[in-house]
């Protein structure tokens, strides 16, 4: 008993001087209870971000406890109206959402959209990757773009549900080749497993999805990555579209939103909370462990980004014929 006391006292004596004032200040509790609203089922990407926030914030002592509510369905458009309706003005509530929701709100003609919630911060992003089966005779991005240009109908591409990020990326690629997004031979699969299986079995010519989804297959040589759609390289040996002279940057971003009707002070407090959370070393570790790319953007910059994202998504969805 005594010995443990001495040990911990020594440890504290060693560590304390090393911690700066800022680090100490972060130990302050900001919220006694936070209500996290996840407009998707447990286990998905949004749920993962919500739980990661919980883990880091609680370990740092910034939040006493978290309450989670999952209302899944239709790219978040089932949960969104519920969050807007039930949490109006609540200073302790936040919702996780992202790029998929922007598209889903448009495609489902949802009466409630991201305009009805308070943007707080963008936290992570995941660029897309274009792959072909390992045995394919398409070797480079140029080969693939040529195939798209000369025979878009015969170049079947597998991805997630229609109107999602994968579909939009294909639409943008076709546009860049002077084709219409309507020409796409896009094969939508429910969930990553069946889509991956179709690519591995060479049932389709190519596939598009988030980098993390295909990373292991690429590493094992069963899929060949042609390009990624981020600002910078996501895989060391795979060029970005930009490097290859195709001016497309697209990512599946995820972020947090406050309820509608938040007081200015409450909003400021929440933006500050997520900014400080993002600056914790534990958050960096979390990003690394989960394989997420940092895409932090808060307050007004985030709002401006949202507007622009919505505009671009509308344009492509219209051209694909989904709006």
């Amino acid at each position: 008993m005594l010995r443990r006391h001495v040990l911990s006292a020594t440890a504290a004596g060693l560590v304390l001087p090393l911690l700066g004032r800022a680090a100490l200040a972060q130990q302050q509790q900001r919220y006694a209870t936070m209500h996290a609203f996840i407009p998707a089922g447990p286990g998905g990407g949004w749920d993962g971000l919500g739980r990661a926030i919980e883990q880091v914030a609680r370990q740092a002592g910034m939040v006493g406890s978290f309450q989670f509510e999952n209302v899944g369905g239709a790219g978040g458009t089932v949960g969104l109206p519920r969050f807007v309706g039930q949490r109006r003005g609540d200073a302790n509530s936040f919702m996780v959402g992202g790029a998929i929701m922007v598209g889903a709100v448009l495609a489902n003609k949802s009466p409630v959209g991201l305009k009805d919630v308070t943007p707080i911060a963008r936290m992570t992003t995941e660029p897309g990757v274009i792959v072909v089966p390992g045995s394919s005779d398409i070797k480079t991005l140029e080969d693939f773009l040529n195939a798209l240009k000369s025979n878009p109908g015969g170049t079947s591409v597998a991805g997630g549900s229609a109107g999602g990020m994968d579909h939009i990326l294909l639409g943008l690629l076709l546009k860049s080749q002077g084709r219409s997004a309507k020409d796409a031979s896009y094969v939508a699969f429910a969930g990553g497993g069946p889509a991956q299986a179709a690519i591995l079995g060479a049932q389709v010519k190519a596939g598009i999805s988030g980098v993390s989804e295909f990373a292991e297959q690429i590493k094992a040589g069963r899929m060949r990555a042609l390009a990624t759609s981020g600002e910078e390289r996501s895989l060391p040996d795979v060029p970005t579209l930009k490097e290859k002279g195709v001016d497309i940057v697209l990512g599946n971003w995820r972020g947090v939103f406050g309820p509608p009707g938040m007081k200015a002070d409450d909003k400021k407090k929440m933006v500050q909370f997520f900014t400080d959370l993002h600056n914790l070393p534990a958050w960096k570790e979390m990003l690394e462990r989960q394989g997420w790319e940092d895409a932090f953007l808060a307050g007004e910059e985030f709002e401006a980004f949202l507007k622009q994202d919505e505009k671009a998504t509308t344009e492509v969805l219209k051209e694909v014929g989904l709006l």
């Binding site: 749920d47 209302v71 109908g153 094969v187 497993g193 591995l200 292991e216 590493k219």
Partner: protein, 497 residues
């Protein structure tokens, strides 16, 4: 590492006291949630994910596998006793199982499903250990065209449950296809038949419909037609399987397991198709003296086969997950995300980079299987006692149970409205002798067949011959034609001769 030393290593790790404890806890939890309609293994494992921050990877995966296998066991219990399937793989079990229970044969039905699950689970686990990588490569050869043909084959099974009147049966099937269409269309992203109700965008849950049709419909029907004063207490009957029951079950167990495993391995296979095919097969293969039990007093073959198929398919689902890192079911997807929170990247290299973990997991599947059968067999007597509850109280209980389970799926009031709305439809269906099973079959197969067909046609650029120029697809279609036309043709020939 070769298979035998892998297994030896795995058992060495899995047989520690802590890991056995995790397996026991998982089996227990799994059985419990399998019993509840709505709360499936995927949701449970998702809720258990936070323990990955505290527990070792091996312990956590043993727990998850226990939950996964346990849910398959538990799901059949309510199917048989209460006509309330706990998950989609045990919907078909309810067809004969509930009839057996109503005729005082609940014990043998529960028994054959538990032993069948054990047999099939063991065959499935052997499949994972020895055939996994080979089978999965074969399964990858199947594209959307082949899946569509497989579903055509499954549609043949509807003929087995149409009942006396083809018109009534087909009406039920049409109703099922209609419900199956509700929601966002995968290929175009457009909402269909949702009438502006956001909750309908993701479609209607098949377990919800099955519960509404079987449990709520029957309860409402009884409440409507129940004659006051005539209290009938159901007979529990003998608990053990007779020698005859064993003889009748062994064939269906083995056939069900052999049918189920490959479907589980297929990336778009699942547990529903093999259970249907197994039911159809057993109904056709049953010895003539028992044929009349199908659809009337309940035939044990119709429980043993589908239940085995369900469990073997569940084992098969783990194959693409472990060998290729492909999540082909919701449960597998959540298990993969658990791998990631340990910093393990599941993929084609998992078997080489994480041999320890993978083999321990496989060993724990064998152990979970034995635990489950030991856990479940003594419970048969206890479960069967449920039937001693007088009818009104029993059915009131079922209604409460179904309502809680359904609300548990999504916390959605719309789902409850659907449950009772479809329940009322089912009540009238019972009153006017419309069979309910084709509704569920239509609802499961319709959307799958539609998507597979459109995917195949997108790939072939609209060329319909893709279904008959691809050899595997053609074979399956020929099989479907034989299954449909064979028996009546055979009967005509036999009569003439």
């Amino acid at each position: 590492m070769d298979i035998w030393s892998g297994l030896a290593l795995g058992f060495g790790n899995a047989l520690s006291v802590t890991n056995l404890g995790w397996a026991l806890l998982g089996c227990f939890l799994g059985t419990a949630i399998g019993v509840l309609p709505g709360i499936g293994p995927a949701l449970t494992i998702a809720l258990l994910l936070p323990i990955t921050f505290q527990v070792s990877a091996t312990g956590a995966f043993i727990l998850f596998c226990g939950v996964f296998y346990g849910a398959m066991y538990g799901g059949s219990t309510t199917s048989i006793l209460l006509n309330t399937p706990g998950e989609s793989g045990s919907i078909i079990t309810a067809l004969e199982g509930a009839k057996m229970a109503r005729n005082g044969r609940a014990g043998p039905a529960l028994f054959t499903s538990a032993v069948g699950s054990f047999v099939a689970g063991t065959i499935g686990t052997l499949g994972i250990s020895f055939l996994g990588p080979i089978v999965v490569e074969l399964a990858l050869q199947l594209g959307p065209a082949e899946y569509f043909s497989l579903m055509v084959l499954c549609f043949v099974t509807v003929s087995a449950v149409l009942g006396g009147s083809a018109l009534r049966g087909l009406t039920s099937l049409g109703f099922g296809l209609l419900i199956g269409l509700v929601g966002i269309d995968l290929q175009t992203g457009q909402p269909r038949l949702t009438f502006g109700v956001m909750e309908l965008l993701d479609g209607v849950d098949v377990v919800l419909v099955a519960v509404a049709l079987f449990a709520v419909g029957e309860t409402l029907f009884l409440a409507w037609r129940h004659v006051e004063g005539k209290q009938e207490v159901r007979e529990v009957g003998k608990l053990m399987m007779s020698r005859e029951d064993w003889k009748r079950s062994i064939g269906p167990w083995l056939r069900g397991a052999l049918l189920g495993f490959p479907f589980g391995v297929m990336p778009a296979g699942g547990t529903e198709m093999p259970t249907m095919l197994s039911y159809f097969t057993e109904r056709k293969l049953v010895r003539p003296q028992y044929r009349k039990e199908f659809g009337t007093t309940g035939a044990i073959e119709g429980v043993a086969g589908p239940e085995a198929a369900n469990n073997a398919a569940a084992a098969g689902v783990l194959v693409p997950m472990l060998t290729l890192g492909l999540p082909t079911s919701a449960t597998a997807a959540i298990m993969l995300s658990a791998f990631q929170s340990y910093g393990i990247q599941p993929g084609p290299l998992l078997f080489t980079t994480q041999a320890d973990l993978v083999w321990t997991l496989i060993a724990s599947l064998y152990i979970a299987n034995i635990m489950l059968v030991v856990l479940n067999l003594p419970l048969v007597g206890l479960w069967a006692r449920i039937l001693k509850i007088p009818t009104p109280q029993l059915y009131a209980g079922i209604l409460v149970f179904a309502t809680i389970g359904t609300y548990g799926i999504s916390n959605s009031v719309v789902d409850l409205a659907l449950l009772y709305g479809i329940g009322v439809v089912a009540m009238f269906m019972r009153r006017f002798d419309f069979p309910q099973a084709p509704v569920v079959i239509g609802m499961i197969l319709g959307p799958m067949a539609e998507q597979a067909m459109r995917q195949a046609l997108t790939i072939s650029q609209g060329d319909w011959t893709t279904f008959i120029t691809r050899p595997i697809s053609l074979c399956i279609l020929v099989l479907a034609v034989l299954a449909l036309l064979g028996p009546p043709l055979w009967a005509t020939v036999a009569r003439r001769a």
